[in-house]
């Protein structure tokens, strides 16, 4: 266990954390703002990766490919949203259905291959893990900081608009929202679209970063997204009150998550056990508020 190895892995962990932080912002929009648990994420991140990889290979510019990935993610969100609102299927199931369907769709997008290579040697990509420790503008962290900042600013603006406020109201209290003339169904669909668009964008960046797109790259993505949201809230919830800062906390949560992962790997954890560990950690954090209320609340008189 050389400490140098750990330090060498840190920049990569930060970059990866920031990409997953973008995804986590998408998760935050559904899970925290819209109060919907959306499992589409596992599929839509791979969709984003697949769309971007194929388009870049076919000569599209990276920016056009990113935009296309965003749109593809929004379509995935639209499908989940329609399952949920128009077909009356519970949100969780709607997401699972779309996620399952996307597996086939993603294979189709990648020409019936499970894996498509996207080498930074052959194509001009926005970022690559190869430059994770480079000093200078080619370092992926530079472009990712710009992405994170732009996305947070854009969302800060959007959720302050009349439309954005109505979306927040939809999540906060659907009865109240309808009584104020807000179409909660439309808003739920819109929220799911925005969320999955961002998730797919993260997928498009991830495919470039890791140098390939894989049909299975989204497995457990929702759990990592939730982990980032929760870690961000636990660590910075008391300090960051402003909406923009809350989104930043989510990204920081994702970075912390990847740093911790690097440490446990360095300590000798088998990579195959990572998902088990992640699931357990997230389960514990999700259970904490319930336990706190049930077993540790100071009971004031009576039961």
């Amino acid at each position: 266990m050389q400490i140098v190895k750990l330090f060498n892995a840190m920049p990569g962990a930060v970059a990866q954390g920031m990409i997953w932080g973008l995804l986590a912002i998408g998760v935050y929009i559904t899970y925290r703002i819209l109060e919907v648990s959306d499992l589409t994420v596992d599929g839509s991140i791979a969709t984003g990766g697949a769309v971007a990889a194929m388009l870049i290979i076919n000569g599209w510019s990276v920016w056009a490919a990113l935009l296309a990935a965003f749109v593809a993610g929004m379509l995935a969100g639209l499908v989940t949203g329609l399952f949920h609102t128009f077909c009356g299927i519970p949100a969780i199931l709607s997401g699972i259905l779309t996620q399952l369907a996307l597996y086939s769709v993603n294979l189709r997008i990648m020409g019936n291959k499970a894996n498509v290579a996207l080498s930074v040697n052959k194509y001009s990509l926005l970022l690559s893990s190869r430059n994770a420790r480079a000093i200078g503008l080619q370092n992926p962290i530079v472009i990712l900081v710009l992405f994170v900042a732009a996305l947070i600013l854009l969302l800060y603006w959007f959720f302050g608009t009349e439309l954005g406020c109505s979306l927040r109201a939809t999540g906060a209290n659907r009865n109240m929202a309808r009584a104020q003339g807000i179409n909660t169904n439309t808003n739920t669909v819109l929220g799911l679209m925005i969320s999955n668009g961002i998730v797919a964008l993260a997928g498009a960046l991830l495919a470039q970063y890791q140098g390939f797109s894989d049909v299975g790259m989204g497995r457990g993505a929702i759990v990592i997204g939730l982990a980032a949201v929760i870690i961000g809230e636990v660590v910075l919830g008391k300090v960051f009150r402003n909406f923009g800062l809350k989104l930043l906390a989510v990204v920081i949560g994702a970075i912390l998550y990847y740093l911790v992962i690097q440490v446990v790997l360095w300590l000798g954890l088998n990579t195959n056990d990572l998902k088990l560990l992640t699931a357990l950690v997230v389960a514990m954090f999700l259970a904490t508020p319930y336990w706190r209320a049930k077993y540790f609340s100071k009971k004031k008189g009576g039961v």
Binding site: T161, E162, N173, N175, A179, G181
Partner: protein, 264 residues
Amino acid sequence: MLKINHIAKTFNPGLITEKTALVDVQLHLNPGDFTTVIGGNGAGKSTMLNAVAGVFPVDKGTIEIGGENVTNLPEFKRAQYLGRVFQDPMTGTAATMNIEENMALAMRRGQRRGLKWGISNMEREMYREQLRKLDLGLEDRMASKVGLLSGGQRQALTLLMATLRTPKLLLLDEHTAALDPKTAAKVLELSDKIIREQKLTALMITHNMQDAIDYGNRLIMMHEGRVVVDVEGEEKKKLTRADLMGLFEKAAGQQLNSDKLLLS
């Protein structure tokens, strides 16, 4: 202003949980009518209000608000004509949003919501003025989350929000029932004041017979999904609780069960 023509509603038809809530409700309100609604549990009071608000579609009959047939309009579209305050203080406001944001949402009831900033400084001043009138000190807490307010404060705020944009019809669904007596009286006074000042047409459900007699210019009593008593004007002014019970017995054709009516 409101025309309810022979509406009927049965929940869960054909199931073991089938429940006929409205049998045949007929009610016309004139502009400016402040009508109190009383009746026992399960009489259909809340169901009638929710039918007007469009929470669910009715099985039969039509509903007109201000001359427009709204029977087939979804809840969020009917909202443009309606101000609503609910029994549960949690229902009428968004707890995780602050006071001014809640008011800004209410201010845009029935308007298109676009990409303009959700709340302007000019509005803010107006909201502060309005809140000052409530005399609850809320004008100094406009950036506080509504979840931090007491039930009474939330109901007062909901009332203000419901009337920020003058509604064609104000629906008050036992909006003081969850409050302590002192706060309830205060919120009721406030409701009366707003209804008078803005000359609103209002329907107010209450479990309190005395309140039903004291407030409004018209009183209806419901029983088993029908309107069985309807008094207004001078006749209502002279009404006593004993009269009401007499009317009810005559209309319902049975001995009044005081438990059912929750007299107070």
